[in-house]
Structures are given as structure tokens and as C-alpha cells.
Symmetry: C2
Amino acid sequence: MNNEAVSLFHAVGPSAAIIGRKPTLTNLKFNQMQRYGSVIGLNADKLEEYKLLHAAVWPEVLRMITRCNLRNYSIYLRQFDDGQHFLFSYFEYVGEDFAADMAVMAADPTTQRWWALCMPCQRPLVSRAQDEWWASMEEVFHCE
Amino acid sequence: MNNEAVSLFHAVGPSAAIIGRKPTLTNLKFNQMQRYGSVIGLNADKLEEYKLLHAAVWPEVLRMITRCNLRNYSIYLRQFDDGQHFLFSYFEYVGEDFAADMAVMAADPTTQRWWALCMPCQRPLVSRAQDEWWASMEEVFHCE
């Protein structure tokens, strides 16, 4: 895998902060924060490994998440009716250049080692955008 | 459908705030806030109807959401590789009795009329808990 080309989260190209990521009026008026919801499959034989990894995320990986301006970041797991497992992630981006921050994260050697453990657990959607790993979702509702 | 028995969100029984909803140490220490992630299918022929409804949610429904102590509530939509659409919801509960607050919401006539429009759009997971509509997900990671 090429960690320089594939963000853990989303497209790192210059249009990443624009495509499908319209800030709401609320965001623009108050704090420029942007919410991101994303989805990815999780391989059944990697369930426990993934949960164990995320029960004790490396401190340096957490520091990089914070340094790259991600906040209130949660990942949820559920088995669907077809037997497949999916992960949903929600986080808030409080920086000013999402693509640049994701590029910083992607260039971090510790984060790259972390992703090398996580990515084989995951099963990205075929329909994801070309430079996505987690597939972005469309926000259809928000209430503060 | 029986709106008194089925919460829009989650189980309204006395154990709703406990099952699969362990507050993290962070939450307990600082503010007792609890995060909820949930998933439900969305019927393909109801996509636009659901999006239009949620682009202009009735003010009284929004007020009830706030009154019942839900905050930072987002719903995301995505078509999966099998062609089916799913909604993911994320919200934060800041009250002290989730089951009681959900019962208040379920008893509100305006909210019931709103649900009567939304629920036919949705396709709940067969594997959801007996008293759920949206199926709860397991939080496997959180970073403030």
C-alpha cells in the first residue's frame, strides 16, 4: 500500500475539503468546524484484533490525530444483516486546511506503522472515491 | 406501528442507558455525556423524500430533540456496494435518564407525526434489539 497516496480518512488532494464537504451555515458563522462521517468494512476474522488495537491506540498516533486538528473522533462497529461488519467513523475537523493536515498525518512514520496494522483488518468500499480509504458519507441532518 | 413502544432512536426500556452503552472514563469524569452511534437502512425509492424531510425538520421536532437532551446530532447517508443505502446517526446525550427522555419524545404528538413520515422511508436491521428501531453500534474507539 502507498501511504503517501491513501489517507486513512479521506482524499488528500486539493479538492478534499470541498467535494461533498460543504460547511453548514452554522459552522461558517461560529467556528469553521467541519464534521466528517465515513464508513468502511471490517473483516470478520480481524474483529478482535481491530478492537484490541483500538482499545490501546499508540500515544503517538493519538498525538498526531490531535496535531492534525481532528477532535471528538469516534469509531463504531456493527454487524449488518448480511453478516458483514462495518465501521462508522465520526470526527470534527477544527483546522483550516484538511488536505494539508491529512498529508502531515500520512507522512508520519508511526502513523504509517499503525495503518499497516489497521488496513489489513479493513475492507474498503469498492465505491469509495479514488483517493479515499474510508468512504465519505453525506450529511443529511444536523441539530446542534 | 406503535410509537409508544418503539423509540426513534433506541430502546426505551429501563436498561436502555446500560446495554452496550458504557460511559467512558472521560465522560464520567467530566460531564456524564454519552455518545450514541446507530444505523438503519433507507429504502432506495425514499431517498429524496427522506433528504427533503431532513433538510427542513419541523421546528417542534427539533425543540423536542433539544428538550430531551440530545446534542450534536448528525445523520449520514451512503450507498453500500450491494446497492443498499444506509443511514448512520451520531448524537450526544447530556441528560441523566436516557430512557425517560426517550419516553417523553415518544409521547409527543408532533414527533409521532414526524416519525409516521420517516419510518416508512427506513428499513431497520433485522438484527436490531427487540425494542430498537435504529440499531445501536458498539463504540470501539474515541479520542477527544
